[in-house]
């Protein structure tokens, strides 16, 4: 790989601007551990395992659980720039080690957080067009004429078969279909920055469900053209619900032949003490830099590529 000093300098400048943005609104910068004894149970996120002092540990897939423990401890709004690790992810837009900007805004919901993210990005680069906002359900209706309120598994598989060549749709569950359609078909229509919000509850992850409609999770993603840049929620604060989701994740992991992961009890205990209402978002900084440099691959914005994939 070519050593691109210009990219490295711009990365440093972007970090300075991010810190200036959060310092100006009095958010505390934090630095949480990258090693943990427990990890994210999400079935689609695999943790890299390591051994230290004869103990099995995990490289963190995001700083989420640690940061939420700080929120419970009374930190107030916080942000962090850190590395995160995800196993088995390598490709044009993926690298097993990548950079995240993650922050939590106390008293915010996900719509207020979208505004804040839009403001931050406006501080980092010249935004040609205004950010678009479209709900997940609207996307499917507008671009695919698929009504997710009534669409059954067969309808979703049919829609995949119509738009994606050479795939055995019988291997796909409903969310697999939706993942493929949004990432490979719908997002190809996005121009510039686009927020997609109100995800189906089956893809709630750690988001709160909408009180007025529990079929929908208060979750959003930000895209630049078809590239996914950020994922945010109105954060789930209910420890019972959170435990149930972890256990359900692990049950699905076992069903799919994956290893079940140790649940982060420290995080759950913190939630039981009460986490302030807040919204949080993780931004893929390498991808944001790709957009700024108009680079075609994530590899080309890494400071060094030590893995040579």
């Amino acid at each position: 790989m070519q050593f691109q000093l210009e990219n490295i300098k711009t990365r440093a400048l972007v970090y300075q601007k991010i810190r200036a943005f959060f310092n100006a609104i009095d958010y505390l910068e934090v630095d949480t551990p990258l090693l943990g004894k427990a990890t994210n149970t999400d079935i689609h996120i695999q943790s890299i395992q390591a051994v230290t002092c004869d103990r099995q540990v995990y490289l963190q897939t995001s700083p989420e659980f640690s940061m939420k423990r700080l929120l419970v401890a009374g930190s107030g709004s916080i942000y962090q720039i850190c590395h995160a690790f995800r196993d088995e992810e390598k490709g044009r837009y993926h690298h097993p080690e990548f950079t995240l900007l993650e922050w939590y805004s106390c008293g915010f919901d996900y719509h207020a957080l979208m505004n804040q993210l839009e403001q931050l990005i406006g501080n980092l680069l010249d935004v040609a067009q205004p950010f678009q906002r479209i709900s997940y359900f609207e996307c499917f209706k507008t671009h695919l004429h698929l009504d997710l309120k009534s669409a059954r598994l067969d309808d979703c598989r049919q829609c995949v078969a119509e738009h994606i060549s050479g795939i055995d749709t019988l291997l796909l569950n409903r969310d697999d279909c939706l993942d493929l359609l949004i990432s490979q078909v719908i997002s190809k229509q996005f121009k510039g920055f686009t927020f997609v919000y109100d995800y189906p509850s089956s893809q709630a992850s750690l988001a709160k469900l909408k009180r007025s409609n529990p079929e929908v999770a208060e979750r959003f993603e930000l895209f630049f053209n078809d590239l996914e840049l950020a994922n945010g929620f109105s954060e789930l604060t209910d420890s019972t619900e959170q435990r149930a989701r972890f256990e359900q994740d692990n049950a699905r992991r076992v069903e799919s032949g994956l290893e079940s992961y140790l649940i982060d009890e420290d995080f759950l205990q913190a939630l039981e003490r009460g986490m302030p209402e807040c919204a949080g978002v993780a931004v893929g900084l390498d991808r944001l830099l790709m957009v700024m440099f108009e680079e075609e691959s994530l590899k080309s914005v890494l400071t060094l590529d030590t893995l040579n994939f």
Binding site: H44, I45, K90, S165
Partner: protein, 189 residues
């Protein structure tokens, strides 16, 4: 036979797909942050030459195909088979019309070609990217016309017909790109 999982997919890997040997051309890993990962793959069926787009759920695997590429010397055409030989071992392999496909127009006895063997039998022939062949038929050359511009068809000793500059004559040798069929230069001597 061994099998390959999607995370081992890379250009050039030979795998079985729907009963046919195929070669992976391109493999793209796609995954929403919180969603299922997929591999979108461009793959060439080595029997038909056709390129297909396939999408796999990451973690799926395909059986490895017993396919190897061997450099061989072309010997002769008996009307049914083109005969090739491995120079070191004198081992001969007859390739049928389908296996040779469009490559037949570049075949010249004694020259070397890449022969793709599937389960030991030829399924494809790849000529070198550049070959040097003699013109066996073309219209008379125009003396003094070495400027750019005009071209004329010329038949080469292997049977290929390519467009060459007007000044070239029967008996002269030319260098041709076999991938595009384009004339590159005159070969002196």
């Amino acid at each position: 036979m061994a099998s390959y999982s999607t995370n081992e997919f890379r250009g050039g890997l030979k795998v079985m797909l729907d009963g046919d040997p195929c070669s992976i051309i391109e493999n793209e890993f796609v995954k929403p942050g919180k969603g299922q990962a997929f591999n979108r793959v461009k793959i060439r069926n080595l029997k038909t030459g056709r390129v297909l787009d396939k999408t796999f759920k990451s973690g799926e695997s395909l059986e490895a195909a017993d396919v190897i590429d061997v450099d061989m010397q072309y010997l002769y055409d008996d009307g049914e088979f083109y005969h090739f030989m491995v120079p070191d071992t004198f081992e001969q392999h007859p390739a049928d019309r389908t296996a040779v496909g469009d490559a037949n127009i570049w075949l010249k006895p004694q020259d070397m070609y890449e022969v793709t063997l599937y389960n030991g039998a030829p399924i494809g022939i790849t000529p070198p990217n550049f070959v040097e062949l003699e013109i066996t038929d073309t219209d008379p050359g125009l003396k003094g016309d070495t400027a750019q511009g005009g071209t004329k068809p010329a038949t080469l000793e292997s049977g290929a017909v390519v467009k060459v500059p007007l000044f070239l004559e029967i008996g002269e040798k030319v260098r041709v790109d076999t991938r595009s069929g384009d004339y590159m230069s005159r070969v002196k001597g």
